[in-house]
Amino acid sequence: MHLDKRYSNWRILLLSLVAFFLQLYFIPIIEISVWRPDLILLLVIYVGLYYGAIPGTLTGFIIGIFQDSVSPMMGISSLANCIIGFGAGQVKQFKLAFNARIVASLLLILGHGLIFYLVYQYKSEVTYGRLIYSRVFPNTVYTFILGLILSIFFRTSLEEK
């Protein structure tokens, strides 16, 4: 049991590192205009949905800090990520079917965008409404599509959990 838990921690750490660097260097390549999918968010949701609220919250918070440290604003990503990680952990309790988890993921991605840009608007001159339709919706769709593609590839391993 302890070995499983330790293995899970290392797995989450490794995935976090991979997601972090892919987000930095691979995602900008597939960026469309200013819309880009959020691979780190997908990882946080995955951790929350499959490992629980605490791993989800902590992963979201820690990786969010790293994300913030290479962006102009500190604290915003960690805030939004830990809330979504927590939310995903709560969804886990309902023991949803695979497809239902996909739908829940869409809502969590949308929630992340809404929280992130809610805080972001205070540090920018753009209105929240404009940010929602110019950033939140496109990013949500793009991130969800990427999540779907990944879930197709990893469906077997995800359903086993």
Partner: protein
């Protein structure tokens, strides 16, 4: 105490979330753009370290195009570099000539060597100055290094200079060290001979040979060359002296034509 801990444990998820939220808010409020933040510094450095490898991998996609572009750029730059080197060397030569002209007491006319004389009769250079600049036959030609020869043919725009390495060339010369007189002539190869210097005269290798100034063509004290070999093993009364010309005739590009020799005008 245990009950309290159990109670807290029941809200563990929410408690951790609350702590994370609190820390996030603290970060939002207090750490606006702090470039000196050691954590930021650490992450930036780590990211920078990894980014080098990622950029390399990224460049593999268009490596061939990049290589072709760099080859073209390299060729272009090599061409420009050659032009610049030419310009640089020309600049050095011209500066040298200009300095020589400024310190010279002669009236000098600069001319470019445009080719070698095609006639077999004498070894000569074609210069791009002629009658329009009042160039005349028997005007002396020299460079900053030393004597080149004399003008033997002239038309409106060009002239031909007979160089020292010509079988008809004879120039009155003297050894700088002991002022002994002789006549400079071509040795048939790439050097000159200093003729009519008696065996009793002390001539050493390294002695500088100058024009004597007794000619109406060549001004005095113009360097002709340096003695590189002296031999007494000859029949007759004179030494066999070989002189290396001061001027490299294969690399001549600009020369001066002497128009007026102070105190020795023709």
């Amino acid at each position: 105490m245990i009950k309290f801990l159990n109670f807290i444990g029941g809200f563990r998820d929410a408690l951790i979330l609350a702590i994370c939220l609190f820390l996030s808010f603290c970060l939002i409020i207090y750490s606006d753009h702090d470039p000196g933040n050691p954590f930021r510094y650490l992450v930036y450095n780590s990211v920078g370290l990894v980014s080098g490898y990622f950029f390399k991998i990224d460049s593999y996609f268009d490596l061939k195009d990049e290589l072709t572009r760099l080859h073209r750029q390299n060729m272009d730059l090599a061409g420009k570099n050659m032009q610049l080197q030419d310009a640089f060397l020309e600049n050095i030569r011209l500066r040298k000539l200009l300095e020589f002209k400024e310190r010279s007491t002669f009236q000098l006319i600069a001319a470019e060597v445009t080719g070698f004389n095609p006639h077999q009769i004498f070894n000569g250079l074609i210069l791009n100055e002629g009658l329009r600049r009042n160039i005349k036959k028997r005007d002396a030609v020299l460079t900053a290094e030393g004597l080149v020869g004399q003008i033997v043919q002239v038309d409106e725009y060009n002239s031909i200079c007979q160089i020292l390495l010509d079988r008809n060339s004879r120039i009155s010369a003297q050894i700088q060290r002991n002022r002994e007189l002789g006549v400079i002539a071509w040795d048939g190869g790439v050097n000159l001979k200093l003729l009519y210097v008696a065996k009793t005269i002390d001539v050493l290798t390294g002695d500088v040979v100058l024009t004597s100034g007794y000619s109406k063509i060549f001004p005095g004290n113009i360097k002709i060359g340096v003695v590189i070999d002296v031999s007494k093993e000859t029949e007759g009364l004179f030494l066999d002296i070989t002189v290396q010309p001061a001027v490299n005739f294969n690399r001549l590009e600009e020369v001066f034509i002497v128009k007026e020799v102070p105190g020795n005008a023709p």
